[in-house]
């Protein structure tokens, strides 16, 4: 999975560091002063590095819990995100992280206790409530056997039932959740794309079947689950593909009990798009015509917006309007 482990000098004796190093006895361990020395230096090539990604163990300083970008997630009470990891072990060709970071190494911040305190401070300042998102710039569960993220952070949300945690993932590493008592305010949001899009663009990601199986198990164990159908990539057959995906997904889940369902088209900041298309000049997705508006790139939709509306109509056969939102 990793080619080496970089460890910040400061946390080389941290118990979480030692535990993780113990799991990879044969990997080269390389000490660094700060993770930025390895992670986001100039002249790195994300795509080449992705063939030999390393794990970086570090300590995160500064603001650990941040307000979400506009349009992210649910409206209403304060919304925040936090990243105990940066980057992802999977390799989705459409992933904006490839345009955001220069390095494809995964950074894991081991100072969970600081995240915990900062989250708790925000929850208290938001009347013991607020929406908290994990997985904005990583996949929260993909490294679960190593990170034990759930084991550490779930008790905090058990303590504050009005604070909502959304764990965004494509991973099937749900054992930690299945072994824990389900919490009504912790939502596992699984992302799905059509079968064709998955095969074409989601490399190293668990299959749709495995993802759905994991969700079914979670739902049966009482965990609130959510579905994120994104990014929608406009192809000639997109409607047919998503029609069969919706039928298949909703036939296995109790739709009434699904916390929320969202749709989002392919979209990313112009700068990230420029970076990615330079990395993947041979990728057809980045040969497709685009719209640029307000600093964001989206794919040209020849239907003039009708495709998303049709997909929304299809979804309304399975869920109530209250369960649905469209990603901005």
């Amino acid at each position: 999975m990793f080619s080496a482990i970089y460890v910040e000098k400061e946390i080389k004796e941290h118990p979480r560091t030692l535990e993780i190093l113990g799991r990879f006895p044969s990997l080269p361990v390389i000490e660094c002063d700060r993770y930025g020395e390895v992670f986001n230096r100039n002249a790195q090539n994300f795509r080449i590095q992705k063939q030999l990604p390393a794990l970086i163990l570090a300590r995160k300083y500064g603001n650990l819990v941040l307000p979400t970008p506009e349009g992210y997630g649910f409206e209403g009470q304060g919304s925040y995100y936090f990243s105990h990891m940066m980057n992802c072990i999977y390799d989705c060709r459409y992933c904006f992280l490839q345009g955001m970071y220069r390095s494809s190494n995964t950074v894991l911040f081991v100072n969970y206790e600081d995240f915990y305190s900062d989250l708790e401070r925000h929850i208290r300042n938001t009347d013991n409530a607020g929406n908290y998102y994990s997985g904005y710039d990583c996949d929260s569960l993909a490294l679960e056997p190593i990170s034990h993220f759930c084991q550490f952070f779930l008790p905090l949300f058990g303590k504050y039932p009005n604070a909502m945690l959304e764990i965004r993932t494509k991973s099937t590493q749900v054992r930690g959740l299945l072994e824990a008592q389900a919490l009504e305010n912790v939502i596992v949001a699984m992302s799905f794309a059509s079968e064709a899009a998955t095969v074409r663009w989601e490399h190293k990601v668990p299959s749709l079947k495995k993802r759905l199986e994991a969700l079914v198990k979670l739902q049966n164990n009482g965990w609130p689950i959510a579905l994120r159908f994104e990014p929608i990539i406009f192809t000639d057959t997109v409607l047919e593909e998503y029609e069969s995906l919706f039928k298949w997904v909703f036939s296995s889940l109790n739709a009434e009990k699904i916390h929320s369902v969202s749709l989002g088209e392919f979209r990313m900041p112009t700068e990230f798009y420029k970076n990615i298309s330079k990395l993947y000049p041979d990728e057809a997705l980045y040969a497709q015509a685009i719209n640029v508006q307000d600093g964001e790139v989206s794919l040209k939709d020849n239907s003039g917006g009708a495709t998303i509306e049709k997909l929304e109509t299809m979804l309304s056969d399975f869920i109530s309007p209250a369960q649905y939102y469209r990603c901005a």
């Binding site: 390389i30 000490e31 230096r41 002249a43 790195q44 080449i48 040969a287 015509a289 040209k300």
Partner: protein, 280 residues
């Protein structure tokens, strides 16, 4: 020689070695011949491989790396692979042990650099580049006098993933630097040269994939020759050609290259119009 696409998408391998004695076994291993061009540094060349003898120290290493880049710039359209190979002292490793460098620290500036951790069966080292020969072996690391300068310059010309350093231990606390002699250097470097070939092959795999992804379809040359493009237009042309290939529309690109256009602007407009119609 003009810039030509290599059929196999390989990068050139540029080797920077401090001393002629260190270079000799590598020259033999790679079958290199001297290039007598009267240049500032001694240089050798073989099929897709260049070697420069830099002389000792950071200034020489930096200058020779830049020199090698300049004199081979037009040999290939792809970024070269760079490897610095040579002897080093080490606090704990046995004499003759070849080691792959995972971290380089410049003792003067305290800056550290991290080559891609390419898979290798060799033991890993931190390399500390010093200004004067290290006789204390103060840290559990390898010590040389060129590595950090080589890295700083080579990474200006290629992505950092194309740059590595390979060292063989020539001295340690039990066998001080003064015990090194010609014969020993030859023996140590012979075993390094074998590992160097393996490392170069491993790096070439990464480079070839990268180069293939960034290569241009054949029709590009035909179009580029027909019109004179401004710098911006040339960039647009290259990107448009890559898009045709990514979209599997190379046939259309071939067709465009044979159609009649008055200006470079017109041909670019036609290419863009066709790409606008493409959907994945």
């Amino acid at each position: 020689m003009g810039k030509v696409a290599m059929a196999n998408f390989s990068s050139s391998i540029n080797l920077v070695v401090a001393h002629g004695l260190e270079a000799k076994p590598i020259i033999e291993q790679f079958g290199l011949a001297p290039v007598n061009d009267g240049g500032a540094f001694r240089r050798y060349q073989g099929l897709g491989v260049n070697l420069v003898v830099s002389g000792m120290g950071k200034v020489n290493a930096a200058a020779a790396t830049a020199y090698l880049y300049a004199v081979t710039l037009n040999d290939s359209m792809y970024d070269p692979i760079w490897i610095n190979a040579g002897i080093a002292g080490h606090k704990t490793f046995e004499l003759g042990c070849t080691t792959i460098v995972r971290k380089i620290t410049d003792q003067g500036t305290r800056s550290s650099y991290y080559p891609l951790p390419i898979p290798s069966s060799l033991p890993s080292s931190v390399l500390i580049t010093v200004d004067v020969p290290e006789e204390e072996y103060s840290l559990d690391a390898a010590f040389d006098m060129e590595g950090s300068a080589f890295w700083s310059i080579a990474t200006k010309f290629s992505p950092i993933e194309f740059v590595q350093l390979l060292k063989v231990v020539s001295d340690n606390p039990n066998h001080c630097i003064k015990t090194i002699n010609k014969g020993k250097i030859g023996i140590y470097m012979e075993s390094l040269a074998v590992q160097l070939q393996l490392l170069a092959a491993e790096m070439q795999k990464l480079a070839s994939q990268h180069n293939w992804a960034h290569s241009l379809p054949e029709a590009y040359e035909k179009i580029a020759e027909r019109f004179s493009f401004t710098v911006t237009q040339s960039r647009q042309l290259r990107r448009a050609c890559q898009k045709f290939r990514a979209a599997e529309l190379e046939q259309q690109l071939e067709e465009i290259s044979t159609l009649k256009f008055q200006t470079s602007k017109q041909i670019l407009a036609e290419m863009n119009a066709r790409l606008e119609r493409f959907a994945v």
